[in-house]
């Protein structure tokens, strides 16, 4: 696979190194001359000096035959532009972009650039996973489809505690898909009973978390 990486910062350099090790052909593009020289000592001809948002620089690096373009510069507007021209001008089928400021994620989405990797966002999600708010963890978000899969712990004395799945009183647009108990999981039937301490996986329409939390959470209405 021929991979073009723009931005030889820590992420770009290490990605290039790993991909070369896995027998891919890689070209790394770096706009800062000093950084370029440092990286060139190790990667030699696999790194090129230039502004990767300039079309001729991308063309010199062979973007037309690239199987994948990865934009990992420190500027989101550059990453957006690089991915946009890679896909729309040069027909590169796979692009991956880094998003430095999570507030800019909406711009990537607006311009149809995906997948987008945001370190800040990833860490925030990990924090949520480690320290779940109301015991609710997002496992998968599909914003375009307006669906999500969540995991929630059943609090003792909550509305759900001791109820059969069919009697949980869940809002329309939500469905229990699995119950995790004592280290194993099972797909419940309508008459499976939910117990305090269970972790329940649900698929639901975006925006229903609060209603779900009310049924499973500690202060849930009876």
């Amino acid at each position: 696979m021929y991979v073009l990486i723009v931005g030889a910062g820590k992420v770009g350099w290490n990605l290039a190194r790993e991909l070369i090790e896995k027998k891919n052909e890689v070209t790394l593009i770096e706009a800062d001359q000093r950084r370029y020289q440092t990286v060139e000592e190790e990667l030699e001809h696999a790194v090129q000096y230039g502004d990767g948002s300039e079309l001729w620089v991308l063309e010199r690096a062979g973007i037309e035959r690239a199987d994948m373009v990865i934009a990992v510069t420190g500027d989101d507007e550059d990453n957006i532009l690089i991915c946009q021209v890679a896909r729309e001008k040069y027909g590169v089928e796979r692009v991956i972009s880094r998003c430095n400021n999570p507030r800019n994620l909406q711009h990537f989405e607006l311009l149809g650039i995906k997948p987008v990797v945001s370190a800040t966002d990833l860490i925030l999600r990990l924090i949520e996973h480690e320290v779940p708010k109301y015991g609710l963890v997002h496992l998968l978000d599909l914003p375009t489809e307006r669906l999500e899969i969540i995991e929630i712990e059943v609090s003792p004395g909550s509305a759900a505690d001791g109820q059969m799945v069919k009697d949980l009183g869940l809002p329309d647009g939500s469905l229990v898909i699995s119950i995790l108990r004592d280290g194993t999981g099972f797909v419940p039937l309508a008459d499976s009973v939910v117990e305090a301490g269970d972790e329940v996986l649900l698929v639901l329409d975006t925006g229903l978390e609060e209603k779900i939390t009310q049924r499973f959470g500690a202060n849930g209405a009876p």
Binding site: L55, D76, E77, D78, L81, N104, H107
Partner: protein, 143 residues
Amino acid sequence: MFVLICGCGRVGSTVAKTMLSEGHQVSVLDEDPEAIALLERGETRSWEDMGGQFTVGTALESDALVEAGIERADAFIASTDGDNTNLVIAQIAQRRYGVSRVVVRVLDPARSDWYAAQGLMTVCPTKTAIELLEVAVREESSA
């Protein structure tokens, strides 16, 4: 007409002053609070007293764009010093906020041409300079 200008350098500030003097509503957004000085240079009144609006903020931040009035803008000019920033915010203005008239300054002729072909109204000062220089040289040599 309500005109929003992002980037208050030599170009942005001059266009802003012209538009204001022609009776349009003009809002200017720049990340440098000192940039307002360019709007007030040679004037006796402040930019706001003249009826202009000035917002300090980064054009990529939606909050700043909204504060500067993008939701009611009839025209949007992207004239920051970064080609990529201009091209991204122009597309945001067009696609997210539906601004009907969007003009982008792009210094790089190659990016200017390609984005123009994609439907953005680009203005490339580099290309203009090249054309004028070539004409000037030809006139000189034929004189």
